[in-house]
Structure formats: C-alpha cells, structure tokens
C-alpha cells in the first residue's frame, strides 16, 4: 500500500492535534508561571508571557515551606517506593514461580486494594495514626503509600516475571544453588529492568497522591508538595497566589517529564503488561 502525500498530511494533522490536546494545558501553566503578577488577569490568558520573569519562582523558593514540602515529597515517595518494590518483588516471584495454596486469594486481595476507595481509609487512619503518634510524620504517609502501591507493583512485576527465561534458574539450582540463591544471584539481575519500571510507576503514584497528604498531615512537617501547593495563601484569604501556585506546579512536574522522556517505552510496557495477556 503506497502512502500518498495526502494521507501523510492527514496523519500529520491528526498527530499534531493529539499532541496539542495533550500538551497545551501543560504548556499554558508553564507560561502562567513565568508571567509577572501584574500581567496575570490582564493579558486575557495569553499562552506567551508579555514579560518573562522568574519572580514567581523566586517567591516559592524564598520561603522554607515549599522547599520543605519538596524534601518531604521526595523522601516519602522514595522510601515508600523502595519498600513497596522489595515486598512486591518477593511476592511476585512467589506468584509466578512457586506452587502454593492461597495464590488466588493473594491476587484477589491485591486487586481489591487496587480498587479500594481511599476515602474509606482516611477517617480510620486519621484516628489510628493520632492514637499511635505517627499522624503528621513521614511514616504516617509512607505506610498508606506502600500499601496502595503494592497491588500495582505486584501486578506489573508478576507480568514481567512471566517473561523471564527461568531455565537459567534451573541451571543455577543444578549447580547447587539454593532456591533463594537462585533468586538473588541469577533472577534478580535479570529482573532489574522490570523492577526499574515498577519503581518509576510506583514513584509517580506516590508523588501524585493528594487525599492522604492533606488528611494525614496538619503542619509543614510532613506535608508533601501537592498538599502544600493547595494550601498556599495569597495576600488575602480570598485571593489565590496564582503565580506561585503555577511555579510550584511546574517544579513538581519536572520529575514526571524527565521520567516520561527517558523511560517512555518502559512506562508504557509497565502500564499495559498483564492487562492484555489473558
């Protein structure tokens, strides 16, 4: 089938349309973050700042609150990701490689949690965490993040693990390795790409959370960046500091854009693995 230039132009137009639709709202908030406060509200929402300025960025980085929130976000998401990936790797290995009763129940349980409405946990967790003194701490957020990441991580890792050439494991066992050694020395390195993919997706998930972040914190001590942005205050109670919010929003978008640019293929294979192999 020959490709006519008209067909090519048609596809190009369609592609450009999709890209614009996906990226324009993101670009617009970037533009907003570089506008001078005086221009916000008078330039008719122009997608190009009249005067480029770093004023909004200077504003968020001169107070400690946003920096603190960034540190919290990075620390909490990184720790929760590490724990979730370790636990999920062990479970996914067992699910794909070992025969044991209760496997179905485990898959059912993790699916149930993947679909769990987080709001159902907010009120009990709020009370429990205050009771045991982890309310408004890093641990208080790491615990629910790990839990809600586990199903996703187990799901993706199991799907990937099924593609690994397990004969190598058998060969290692023949050479006298115990199943645990075979797992650690042979399979774990092979599984590394799957684990990286899972870690990225879990990190994005933790980085994104808002409901737990505003419910289980009450001060900047453990408040993550999305929650901190929502609580930015303007010069008066009824005025939102739009420029600062836009600048902070752009800052927390940077890691996501980096992940997407460098791991596009991995993220897509992670997201779609398992979902289509029936």
């Amino acid at each position: 089938m020959a490709i006519s230039s008209r067909q090519k132009a048609g596809w190009s137009a369609l592609n450009v349309l999709v890209i614009l639709w996906a990226l324009f709202p993101v670009w617009w908030i970037v533009a907003l973050s570089f506008k001078a406060p005086a221009d916000i509200g008078t330039d008719g929402g122009s997608p190009w700042p009249t005067d480029w300025t770093l004023q909004n960025y200077a504003a968020i980085f001169t107070t400690t609150d946003f920096i603190r929130a960034l540190v919290n976000s990075i620390g909490i998401a990184a720790i929760a990701t590490a724990i979730a990936v370790v636990l999920a790797t062990m479970a996914a290995y067992a699910i794909t490689r070992l025969r044991f009763p209760g496997k179905r129940a485990l898959i059912g349980l993790s699916l149930l949690i993947a679909m769990f409405p987080q709001i159902s946990l907010v009120s009990p967790l709020f009370d429990i965490e205050r009771g045991i003194g982890i309310f408004d701490t890093w641990i208080g957020l790491i615990v629910p993040y790990t839990t809600f990441s586990l199903p996703l991580a187990i799901y993706i890792l199991s799907a990937f693990f099924r593609e690994i050439p397990w004969e190598l494991e058998k060969a290692a066992k023949m050479d006298g390795a115990t199943p645990f050694q075979a797992f650690r020395r042979v399979i774990a390195p092979l599984a590394a790409p799957a684990i990286v993919t899972t870690a990225i997706l879990v990190f994005i998930f933790c980085w994104n959370d808002f409901l737990f972040a505003i419910s289980l914190t009450s001060t900047p001590r453990a408040r993550t960046a999305p929650a901190a942005i929502a609580f930015f205050t303007g010069s008066s109670q009824f005025e939102q500091p739009i420029g600062s919010i836009a600048a902070a929003a752009v800052v927390i978008t940077i890691p996501i854009v980096i992940f997407v640019l460098f791991f596009q293929r991995r993220i897509i294979s992670g997201l779609t693995s398992g979902a289509v192999k029936g």
Partner: protein, 331 residues
C-alpha cells in the same frame, strides 16, 4: 529483607531434595522415598511461597482490613472530635443520619454522573486515540510520549491548570466565553468541566491499554475480512473489538473504580461548592470541617460498599475475563 531462620532451613531442604538421585538412600525399584522427597520439596516450595508473600500480605491487610474494620466500629459510635467525652455506642444512628440526608444522595448522584460520563467519554476518545496511534504512518513515538505527560502529571497540577484556564480574566478558555461568565461557579457547568479535566488526565491511560489490546489483533484477519468485502466499521466491530474485549474490560473496570473515588480535581477546581462534591469530598468534609468522626466513618463504610458493589458486578458480568485471571497459573 532477609528471611527468618526457619525459611533458610526450608530452602536447604529444598536444595537437598533437588539433589541428583545418586544419594545413597535411593534404591533401585523403590519409589517410596522418592515420593516422600517430592512431597518434601512441594512442602518446602509452599513454605517459601508463603514466606515471600507474607510481608506484602501483612502490610496490605494491616493497612486496609484492620482500618476498615475500625471504621465500622467508629461508624457505630457517636464520635465528635469537638466533644470527645460524649463518645458512645449509638448503633446505626450515623447511617440513618447519612442515608436520610440530601447531601449524601446529591454527592452520590454527582459521583455517579462524573463516573459514568467520564468513563464513557474516555472509552470512545481512548479508542479513537488508540486507533490513531496504531494506524499512524509516522510520529507514533512522539504521540505516545506526549500523551504520557497528562497521565503522569500530578492531578493537583492538572486541576489547577484547568481551574485557571476557566477563571475569568486569567484563563485562555474563559477568554473564549461571553463576558461575565464564570463556569466554575455554576453547578452543571462546573460538573462538566470537572468531567473534562478527568477525561483529559486519564484518557491516555485508557488509550495505552487499548493500544496494547489492538496490537493483539492479527493483521491477516483484518486483511481477510477486507477481501471478503467488510467495511472499515464492520471490521472494527466484528473483528477488532471482540478480539480486544479483555483489554477493554480491564480498562473499564480500573477506570470506573478510579473515577468513583474522584477527589483531587473537585477539591482544587470547586472545593465541592455549588453541589459539585463527590462522596469522597463529602467524607473528607465531614471529617475535617465538621470534625465528626462517627458520621465521616459511616460515609467511609458506605463508599466502600458502593465500590465493592461496582467491582462485584464487573466480575460477575465478565467472569473469567476479569483481571487477575491473567496472573494466575504461572506454573
């Protein structure tokens, strides 16, 4: 994390069980010790399986099952954070309060509307997008990278972008509207815009799942149908769609339950005012604005029951096509 000593013993057993049958106690013609060894190995495998899964299971149960049980307990008590001394068992009173309140039913209706509308639009739009990406002659990688940005974007950021876009004087979209209109302050318009924000953010996920499903449809089958004279639409509905049904169902189930817990977009865009609050917003407000732990917990339990009903009907409806069956039977 290192396994306990018990696990190490087990793995050692498993190793010796897998040893070559040249060991002295295996005699020719006697299958009995061999069988015993096989069952030893099976038991070792079972115990290793449990040991590897235990940490994940314990965490998941401790952080969901226990709190949901605790939520049930709290929901049966009067538990107002402003009057901690007045806490006592009051039976189903909190549920009566919630279920006889117009707020609950309004919030449930709004949530149902947002869920159904956004998932339906996403399915159509996501399928279109998937077909575009599947069939496009060039630039597929660029398109895929571009649509991953909305997917990965922090929901709060996306919601702010949409909120400001529709704010008079500030936004590019508000500039297109007749002067004096403030769509986010009108109930129906605001709900429409919340749906739009949700659709923009989550269609990429749907599209990627569907694209993966499309890749499973054999090209020869479509060619054969074409030769037999089937129109493009017929080929899509009679060949492509049935073959990618599992992918569609998985995408639908995940997105429906995800849409049902909508919170971030509403919280940022309208704060739930003008009757735009979802059940999640209602639960949050009862806990943190009204400081009523009892009523808040009753709402938590009711939302949980709703989600369970949705999940259950999906699984009942689709049976083996439900997700999870794919992961089973790895051996």
């Amino acid at each position: 994390m290192s396994p306990g000593p018990e696990v190490r013993d087990v793995t050692r057993d498993a190793a010796s069980a897998g040893a070559p049958p040249s060991s002295p106690d295996v005699t020719e013609g006697s299958t009995d010790p061999l069988q015993r060894r096989r069952s030893d190995a099976a038991r070792a495998e079972r115990r290793l399986g449990w040991a590897l899964c235990a940490p994940a299971v314990i965490v998941m149960l401790a952080v969901t099952a226990y709190p949901i049980g605790y939520a049930v307990y709290l929901s049966l008590r009067r538990s107002d954070l402003r009057f901690p001394d007045a806490a006592r068992f009051i039976g189903l009173d909190n549920y009566v309060t919630v279920l006889t309140s117009a707020y609950w039913w309004d919030a449930l209706a709004v949530t149902a509307l947002i869920t159904i509308a956004s998932v339906a639009i996403e399915l159509v739009l996501g399928m279109t997008l998937a077909l575009v990406m599947h069939r496009t002659i060039w630039g597929r990688g660029t398109v895929r990278t571009a649509i991953l940005v909305p997917y990965g974007l922090v929901t709060v950021v996306a919601a702010f972008s949409w909120e400001y876009a529709w704010t008079p004087d500030i936004g590019y979209l508000a500039a297109l509207l007749p002067a004096g209109s403030a769509p986010l302050t009108e109930t129906w318009q605001a709900i429409g815009l919340i749906i739009l924000a949700e659709v923009w953010k989550t269609t990429p996920f749907m599209a990627l799942l569907l694209l993966a499903g499309l890749a499973l449809v054999p090209e020869e089958l479509l060619q054969a149908a074409k030769i037999d004279g089937a129109s493009a639409w017929k080929r899509f509905t009679k060949v492509t769609l049935p073959l990618m049904m599992p992918a569609v169902l998985v995408a639908l189930l995940f997105r429906t339950l995800d849409a049902f817990r909508v919170f971030d977009s509403i919280y940022i865009m309208t704060g739930g005012s003008q009757g735009t609050g979802s059940v999640s917003i209602l639960g949050y407000n009862n806990l943190f604005t009204a400081l009523n732990l009892g009523v808040g917990s009753a709402i938590s339990v009711l939302v949980f029951i709703c989600a369970a009903i949705i999940a259950f009907s999906f699984i009942k409806l689709f049976g083996t096509a439900a997700p999870g069956s794919a992961l089973d039977g790895g051996n």
